[in-house]
């Protein structure tokens, strides 16, 4: 698989077709068509169209209030009042076998506000596992997940301490570990490094790149340099719409839309 498809390839790439045949264990491919969402009488998302390659990071950027978090919440089923089509591997997520709960195990979401449960660090990591026996015998998984979330070294000796005693940045990484632990097939991250120091940020980015070799990641970020470092695709959203979508090299070197250029240069967006 090629991690970063070219812009035009990307637009032409048909979703599931070729991928299903090429792999035994097909990586999920996501297509979004005409996704629209209204909350409290306000249009939050309008006509969102994009698709996701089988692996690699897709960064979503855009000003505050653009609807980035709302988009992720729709994809994960936390928001269910949307219209349009979202397909994973060609399957409509509204008809997902097992319903929304199963879908959410398939499509992990790490929320913008880190929220740890009021138990131990270990229990937090295992929280999504089915069955208390699995949760008990998950030491290996706990370690692996915490390592992937770049938190292991800091908490290795106090896995049974209350998770609420961690710093905000540590809590954020704990949330990442918790989501990784259930082995989602697609991972949605909402500003995963927003409250982290440069070092942890770097570690998380490394983990993300590593994960992205197996599954597709969508990462909402306000850090344009991070979007560049993560390679892959970039989706630029403004005012509930996708303005531009391209491979990151091309996106930052030659943005096609006026709004994108404005945003990259002045960090403002005026798409109305």
């Amino acid at each position: 698989m090629v991690a970063d498809l070219r812009h035009d390839d990307f637009l032409q790439a048909e979703p599931a077709g070729p991928l299903e045949s090429s792999q035994n264990q097909p990586s999920a491919v996501l297509t979004v068509e005409k996704l629209a969402l209204s909350l409290a009488g306000k249009e939050i998302l309008q006509q969102v169209d994009f698709s996701l390659s089988a692996i690699g990071v897709t960064s979503v950027i855009g000003p505050s209030g653009a609807g980035k978090s709302s988009l992720l919440r729709c994809l994960n089923g936390l928001e269910s009042g949307w219209t349009g089509g979202v397909k994973i591997d060609g399957n409509d997520i509204r008809q997902w076998p097992g319903g929304w709960d199963q879908l959410r195990r398939h499509v992990g979401l790490i929320a913008q506000k880190p929220l740890v449960f009021n138990t131990s660090i270990r229990a937090n990591v295992c929280f999504g596992l089915h069955g208390w026996r699995q949760r008990r015998r998950a030491d290996g998984l706990v370690k692996a997940s915490l390592q992937q979330a770049a938190l292991w070294d800091e908490v290795a000796d106090r896995l049974d301490a209350a998770a609420t005693t961690l710093s905000v940045g540590q809590q954020q990484r704990l949330c990442i570990a918790r989501a990784i632990a259930i082995k989602p097939k697609i991972l949605l991250l909402d500003e995963p490094t927003a409250s982290l120091d440069p070092l942890s940020k770097q570690l998380i980015e490394q983990s993300m790149l590593q994960l992205a070799q197996q599954i597709p990641l969508i990462c909402v970020t306000h850090d344009l340099e991070q979007a560049q470092r993560l390679k892959g695709q970039v989706i630029f959203m403004c005012d509930g719409r996708v303005i531009e979508q391209a491979a990151s090299d091309q996106f930052f070197r030659q943005p096609q839309q006026i709004e994108t250029r404005e945003f990259l240069r002045w960090s403002v967006c005026d798409c109305d």
């Binding site: 994960n76 936390l78 929304w100 709960d101 199963q102 879908l103 959410r104 195990r105 398939h106 992990g108 979401l109 790490i110 929320a111 506000k113 929220l115 449960f117 009021n118 138990t119 929280f127 999504g128 609420t164 949330c175 918790r178 989501a179 259930i182």
Partner: protein, 287 residues
């Protein structure tokens, strides 16, 4: 300078007057219950002893008994059964309120329970007499009384449970569903560990309330004498509340009156115990 001082003194005067007024109004509210409590215990002191607490009536005498143990147990039995009956319904209502109800239904539910709380308990007692005791032929029994009491404490319990569940932030549940937890798992593994203390507090307050209700059980569950221990849920019981009531009607026998005082003191202590436990509980850790 002196003008300022003057102003300051005026303010102080106004302030002290205000303070005096507030105190004057607040004192009776503090003093009267304290005095009543003191008086109860003062009156009860002569009879309060081990034999009085743990002795039982022979079941024949007309309230002139060595002890009130069977009344004490009867009260506790009724209150416990009532709370046990009411709890599942309160929980169910609150879960429905939090998970499925539309905003309109939520408003309706809380309005309904607030209204139910305002209905005089004797009305429920009357309904219990007509429906449970006579229509269902359960007779004057533990079961009839417990069911009526359950209806009386249900609004309190349900409203407390509603408020508890409502206090759980949405993000908390969402963090759970983002991990693919089912509704049931969210309730059991997120909501319950987080709010069991408040739920237990509500239960203890309901116990205190059930213990202090007299009217609803007076003609559905209790008799004055003739019973020491109920043999089944279909047999009547004796309780502290009604014991006091019947004894007080015999206003001219000093012995009976002193037994009534003793029973009152024990009842007050019992209710206070549950109310205090309910107060202390949330402070011992938790979030």
């Amino acid at each position: 300078m002196s003008v300022l001082q003057q102003q300051y003194r005026n303010m102080l005067n106004r302030y002290t007057h205000g303070k005096a007024l507030v105190l004057l109004l607040a004192l009776p509210a503090l003093l009267i219950p304290t005095m009543v409590l003191c008086y109860i215990f003062w009156q009860a002191a002569p009879v309060l002893d081990w034999n009085f607490l743990f002795g039982t009536a022979d079941g024949i005498g007309f309230g002139v008994t060595e002890g009130i143990f069977s009344q004490l147990v009867g009260s506790l039995l009724l209150a416990t059964m009532a709370c046990l009956i009411a709890t599942p319904f309160a929980l169910g209502t609150a879960l429905y309120y939090r998970t499925f109800a539309t905003p309109w239904q939520q408003q309706l539910l809380s309005a309904l329970f607030n209204m139910l709380q305002g209905i005089p308990p004797i009305v429920f007692g009357l309904c219990g007499l007509v429906v449970l005791v006579n229509l269902f032929s359960w007779g004057v029994s533990l079961l009839s009384g417990a069911v009526v009491l359950a209806v009386v404490v249900l609004p309190l319990l349900a409203l407390n449970t509603l408020a508890t569940l409502e206090r759980i932030p949405n993000e908390y549940s969402e963090a759970g569903s983002a991990l693919g937890l089912t509704k049931g798992a969210i309730i059991l593994r997120l909501w319950l560990p987080r709010s069991w203390r408040q739920l237990l507090t509500g239960l203890l307050l309901a116990m205190a309330r059930a213990l202090s209700e007299t009217a609803p059980i007076m003609f559905t569950a209790t008799v004055f004498s003739g019973v020491v221990w109920p043999d089944s849920i279909f047999s009547p019981v004796t309780t502290l509340q009604t014991h006091i009531f019947y004894l007080a009607q015999e206003g001219n026998d000093p012995l009976l009156i002193s037994i009534a005082w003793g029973s009152a003191a024990v009842l007050v202590l019992l209710v206070a115990f549950f109310a205090l436990l309910a107060r202390l509980l949330p402070k011992s850790g938790g979030n």
